[in-house]
Symmetry: C2
Subunit: 421 residues, 2 copies
Amino acid sequence: MPTFAKLAQQYSRALLDDVIPFWMRHSADREHGGYFTCLARDGSVYDTDKFLWLQARQVWTFSMLCNRLTKRDEWLQFARQGAEFLARHGRDGEGDWYFSLTRDGRPLVQPYNIFSDCFAAMAFSQYALAAKDEPAREIAGRTYRNILRRKDQPKGRYTKAVPGTRPMVSLALPMILANLTLELEWLLEPAVFNQAVDTCLKEVFTLFLDEKTQVLREQVAPDGSHLDCFEGRVLNPGHGIEAMWFIMDIAERRNDRSLMERAVDIVLQTLELGWDKQLGGIFYFLDAQGHPPQQLEWDQKLWWVHIETLVALLKGYGLTGRKTCWTWFERVHEYTWKHFPDPKYGEWFGYLNRSGEVLLPLKGGKWKGCFHIPRGLYLCMRELEKLAAASADRQAVRQPGAWPAGKKSTGGLSRKKKGQS
Amino acid sequence: MPTFAKLAQQYSRALLDDVIPFWMRHSADREHGGYFTCLARDGSVYDTDKFLWLQARQVWTFSMLCNRLTKRDEWLQFARQGAEFLARHGRDGEGDWYFSLTRDGRPLVQPYNIFSDCFAAMAFSQYALAAKDEPAREIAGRTYRNILRRKDQPKGRYTKAVPGTRPMVSLALPMILANLTLELEWLLEPAVFNQAVDTCLKEVFTLFLDEKTQVLREQVAPDGSHLDCFEGRVLNPGHGIEAMWFIMDIAERRNDRSLMERAVDIVLQTLELGWDKQLGGIFYFLDAQGHPPQQLEWDQKLWWVHIETLVALLKGYGLTGRKTCWTWFERVHEYTWKHFPDPKYGEWFGYLNRSGEVLLPLKGGKWKGCFHIPRGLYLCMRELEKLAAASADRQAVRQPGAWPAGKKSTGGLSRKKKGQS
């Protein structure tokens, strides 16, 4: 394995010389604003519909790079082009965010999906910081309050569940709220921030964590008990692992060592379960009892699952120094770099079949946009830079990130945060 | 290739010695009524939820066998056990059919899906005939009228589309109405029957058929124009082929030779497009313009696609005598029998990956039940028996099903229908 510094360079180059230029080259809709996200292998546009998740996430990515890496004018311009389109066309009369729009911004699919609102809040928060834009800050704050108001009935009138028969809650919402709340900390009252984080932590660990297996369930009964039905049995390893790096961020923010160790335990358990021991890569869906999952795509290998796992393993290693994190990082890194990047046209493939062959050659679509790969590359780069610096500092005397005896040491959790990463 | 008679025996044995006994052995819920449809490879029950589509389709299958093959008491009993469960628990206050119920019949998912109603109408119509049950006939008639009332807004209040932006109609509804109307002919006024069939034919051919490619679209604008979006570009070869044997039934019923030839043309064109020339089998989804489809399962090989294609090819061959139908039948027959039947535990696998390996070992689930395989085996058996009989009668002087010069000859379309198949 190359040194930390060499690895940091690998992630940095992929981000800055490949992925970001690819999206800048191909995704701008200069006529109507916003972005094209449906990009074929060579970057050509094959569909012009605008999906709120992906528009917002791309605004977030370019704003985040301005805020955390370098304030480049072209990045800020690129973020603005999405933010203005979204501010103009993205919401219905109640301030809820549509799911999709036509190319010119007419609403196609109703705001049935609260995650559109979550990604919009993230986008406008980062953009407000990058552009010092007060209206954007207001949109972020209003959307966040709207999410908290809607969160107990996230599907609203679009829910198909008959009330009362089998009440069910989903990991997705507390998981994304954990990340969103950290993202929006700068514009929230400290009391609101702390309460939101406490609620997320409580829900994730008391409701969704299966104590026996140490793996997260995707859906449980409101009291945390397991439901023996398709939705209750489904496991989504990538989702669980991504949730855990959100929790690691909270653990680092709160300097909470036991929370960090717990998150790392769950990541490692989830990988043990989710890794395809026969053909490599991480499965998309599994059934907690080993029954056939209802998702026909269960055995596919997806871009976001792998890059989010790399982030979680590097954060886990950097903050706890546990060897197992590094061993797994090496394994997942090797699989990921061998299968996902496209050597011919740049950027990464999104969907591989179980054997690791390209299933869909797209670079972007209805669900894959300019988000997980650049975010993951950026975060891995940062973690690797910290490891490289720590390794140089310590001259191999201490393990990177090994927990100090005292709670307020300079190593481990209490290390200086750089650029909010 | 074996003789017609030998082939008929192969389909008949699979139906009567394997598939039907498998479902009788494993799927009865003796405690609460209705059926278990989530059956593992060995037939063991892994989930007890009751999905309306599958409950109704199983009632239909056992009732149909009583009506068209032999009136066996155990089959009628088995049909009754589903019909009574559905009559008791299946509908909401407005007579709309839920999408799913708990094992003991409490409603889980609202009646957002009009196909639940379609399959319920088919089920109660066949069951009413088999059991000479007047209340069942009433349920079938009322449900059918309900479907006609709802058909222009099939998702009702559950629709997520913003009205007006991109109006879209789906092939699925006229397609199933074509089949349903033939099924229910015995209890409909002739005027209602004829009008419903005319409407289906008009919609299928003027709206959904792409004249240029001679392949059906799944979704189009209300004026039949093509929509350049994921839903507008998607092709579902199995669906198009199944629709065409419904149309062949209408052509046979109406003694309409040109309609029959047209349906056969579409089946053959769809196969040319949908057949996996590299690995064999028929793809699940394709994009009309060759773009990446949004369905991640696009390259999988599904049980219903293959058995419905066998039905369409045999009907097409029997009724037009076109050689290409037989050549394709041989190819699809070979693929199907090599990959789908489970030699160890019986019944057929449902989901194969592109290479033809088993993707999910289930025999039944949320979508696969006791329906396509037994219906298809039964229909193929009948077509093959007719071909065997014709072949014996004609002593190889005429091609089977070759069109006579006159319209009212005894060959081809106007052949005697047996048992309503």
